[in-house]
Symmetry: C2
Subunit: 220 residues, 2 copies
Amino acid sequence: MTSIREAQRGARRQGPGGEFSARRQATRERLMDAAVELFAERGVLAASVEEICERAGFTRGAFYSNFDSKDELCLDVLRRKGEQHLVALQQVVESMPGAGSGLSRAQVIRDAVGLFLQAQPKERTELIAMMELRLHALRTPELREGWLAVHANLCASIAGQLQMALDRVGGRIGMPMPQVIELLGAMYENTVSMSLLNGEDAPTGLTAQLVALLDGLIHD
Amino acid sequence: MTSIREAQRGARRQGPGGEFSARRQATRERLMDAAVELFAERGVLAASVEEICERAGFTRGAFYSNFDSKDELCLDVLRRKGEQHLVALQQVVESMPGAGSGLSRAQVIRDAVGLFLQAQPKERTELIAMMELRLHALRTPELREGWLAVHANLCASIAGQLQMALDRVGGRIGMPMPQVIELLGAMYENTVSMSLLNGEDAPTGLTAQLVALLDGLIHD
DNA sequence: CGTCTTCGATACAGTCGCGTATCCGATGCA
DNA sequence: TGCATCGGATACGCGACTGTATCGAAGACG
């Protein structure tokens, strides 16, 4: 059914290897950026294709020439996010100083948390958008895998940082690492959304809370 | 503007003290129940008024006779939830055995967590709906206060349980109590949604995780 | 320099949901 | 039993969004 048309569109928009032309890639990025903003502002479902295009400076024609549907765009947004996390992981690993710096445990932890927060998308926008996307993925089976992949990347990234910090500090955590990371992520999300609900401009003592939690979990 | 009409409607649907007739209250409940289900299934924004009414066995006429808008219904859903939490708190306090039962700390904690989970709305439906409502409240200032009130009630409820458990056990927690509760709530949410994303029927080891976390936080 | 392709804009038809105005049966009250 | 009010159903017009089919300009290529 309509396989000919679809094949034509697919062939037209994407080279045999899956690459896009530079121009095409640029419009895709702009559309995805606009989508993330609107997802955060209005939610995935309430962000109309029309509005996304308008914000990106295109019309719906451009959208449907690049994506089959909004869900398909969501999937690509998630994929891109996953790649960004991988890159962030590498940067963080590089920027982390080697062992033997003689810093106190608290300081090392604080540094690691700072690095994590810095590596995170700075704007809350992205966090809210991801929360929206997760909820959307909860009801949209096609998106689940994409979300889980992003999540896995992020976890790996944090695990790397945290392990390095622990190595430098010589401490141990009783709880299994994956669980610790889930915990940190959940707390991060929770703190940011609570601060938003309370009408604060910036999360109150986010770093302090994360540090306190880690401090409570690490033993010698 | 239209103040006369609004006043009429207000007067018609609600007695001077704010009470509703039994019949009216019943349809309101049915509409709210249907709304919560649909919020969990499709999200707040995608749950159309039409669909809510259909599921509740009414038409839109009934809806607009009872609520001014979907947001107004959300607010009432939140209010109801807040009251339910208060009731749950009382029940929990009553059902909790007195001190001096000679149980181990782990067992007491496990009991407290069990009580908490039992007092929680059993279906994940309600949790997801609340997550949707929170995200919706994030963008809808009129709803923020309502959501925060529910949250405060829930926290108070948990704080009560937890404090009782701690008293029985003689333990202490280094982290401030409100923060601990946020943490537990965040972990609860996170675990449930991860299990749903992974396609599991029931959250894997929810109790165990909560217990482990508490165990890690409690000192003598 | 002309042709061909690519990519986004435009135009269109169709669907869905909203909120209001109005109506009618049921229920309560004298 | 008759009347008034209440509560939900019905009917209507409206606006927004969708996805597709088609068009035209900018850029690639020989």
